[in-house]
Amino acid sequence: MYLDKEDELILAGEYGETRQKMMEILVALGKVFGAEDLVPISSAQISGASYKTIGKWGLEWLNNLDAHVAVPSVLNPIGMPRENWEEIGISKEFADNQKEVINAYRRLGIKLECTCTPYYLNITNYGDHLAWSESSAVSYANSVLGARTNREGGPSALAAAMIGKTPNYGLHLFKNRMPGISIEVEKGEGVHANHYGAIGYLTGKLVGNKIPLFKDIRPSRDQLKALGAAMAASGAVALYHVKGITPETKLPTFSQDPSEVITIEQSEIDALFSDIDVDAVAVGCPHCSPDELAKLAMLLDGEKVKRPFYIFVAKGVKDANLQYVSKIEKSGARVIEDTCIVVSPAMDKFETVMVDSGKAYSYVPNMCGCNVRIGTTEECVRVAIS
């Protein structure tokens, strides 16, 4: 793999042991995946932020590192909000360990945003190369924004953040971004706007790691987010395309016609929805956009929730939209930052949780040990207030 003079010096240890190790990781991964060179990245999003995941040894490794990140970098959601964690039933022991991990990352120069939606905080442009970790963020960056990132593990994302480059292979190369399978959705453009999480959940199960191309649906940005997050959870979809909607489908060099075609039938979508009893409701998986917060504020205006209703969001997005947050919280619903439905122990105590997300629908049974019901955002609000 080609390295420039500066990279060679880093690899030789001229810029300290930590940077040397990080360069060794990038070079090894470049070898493993056949990269010809390193490509500069504009931002990083690092997984392994939860103490539950990395444990005491991961924490010790982080504490022994001695360098700063070279590009804007954020973290994955953690197990709790950094403030007021007692209010959602987090134990002090968990909180103390989690704070240690956060402090270890702070020392490395990482911005303490713990979110799966870094694209609402750092401007991410078409064609940018990135080193992001969280599966729905990777899917959104690649598909909706037309940026380029592989799905990184914790150490490889941190290595890329500290060097400011990543090995140039996989989804960084345009030739690897062409669709491998066409998806037809039965009702096409007439599909119900709130079904995108369910469509993604079903599609991800069928396509595995192939790149899907949808031809006949017209989702908005928030619906694309729901679609991609669900496909990345039930399958291994890091990139998908929607003809005429996502940016790369508009390029003359884009190949439009995979020979393999599968159909998602309306009856399959309908079969996911049920009306079982729930004891809590949670939305914001992935974290809510400002528009989604506005919609929830409108739906909850003048209402009172009758069971716990949690809304998850990036701290930066919460702080910038306090007018919606206060309206929402007047209803008794809680807007929670830094953590999420899937990684927080807060949901574990419920028997059945209702969500509006195909991704949460896929993960909640295993990761929180409770039953799950999927509904539209409107249905979630209706259930919470009745």
């Binding site: 190790k21 060794e24 990781i25 090894a28 991964l29 070898k31 493993v32 392994g48 995941t53 990395i54 444990g55 040894w57 991961g58 010790e60 490794w61 593990g153 914790g154 150490p155 490889s156």
Partner: protein
């Protein structure tokens, strides 16, 4: 009589020890006890054996990426393998070997998976050379 097998250096450094072969992939997370270096995955080919100080040869890694940190834990507990030889490196083992300072080589021109356990083997992660005594 010794002979040399050429491979590809993945993690630098030199290590020497008795060969321990697993024809099956290894998951370090929940597959190896970080305190003892003993393989604990139920039904694994190496179940109950210690990888500490061995030259560990296996096809490739499997399981969670958190396995990289378990390799680091093994090193801190002085229970890490002396070196690792993979048929084909992937992210978890390559990253783990580097952060734990375990010499590692992959793609050996001649596979070591059919050699006898206990054979004395030296691994040079800088040059990719494997010397079998």
């Amino acid at each position: 009589m010794s002979f040399t097998i050429k491979g590809r250096g993945i993690s630098k450094g030199e290590g020497k020890g008795a060969l321990l072969v697993s024809p099956e992939p290894i998951s370090f997370l929940s597959g190896v006890d970080p305190e003892t270096g003993i393989v604990i995955e139920k039904g694994h080919f190496l179940e109950g054996k210690s990888i500490a100080g061995k030259v560990l040869a296996f096809p490739y890694g499997k399981g969670s990426t958190v396995g990289s940190y378990v390799m680091y834990a093994l090193k801190r507990n002085n229970k890490a393998p002396a070196a690792i030889i993979n048929e084909e490196a992937e992210t978890i083992i390559a990253t783990g070997a580097i952060i734990a300072d375990i010499p590692m080589v992959d793609k050996p021109q001649k596979s070591l998976l059919d050699m006898a356990d206990g054979t004395s083997v030296s691994v040079d992660g800088n040059t990719g050379e494997i010397i079998v005594e």
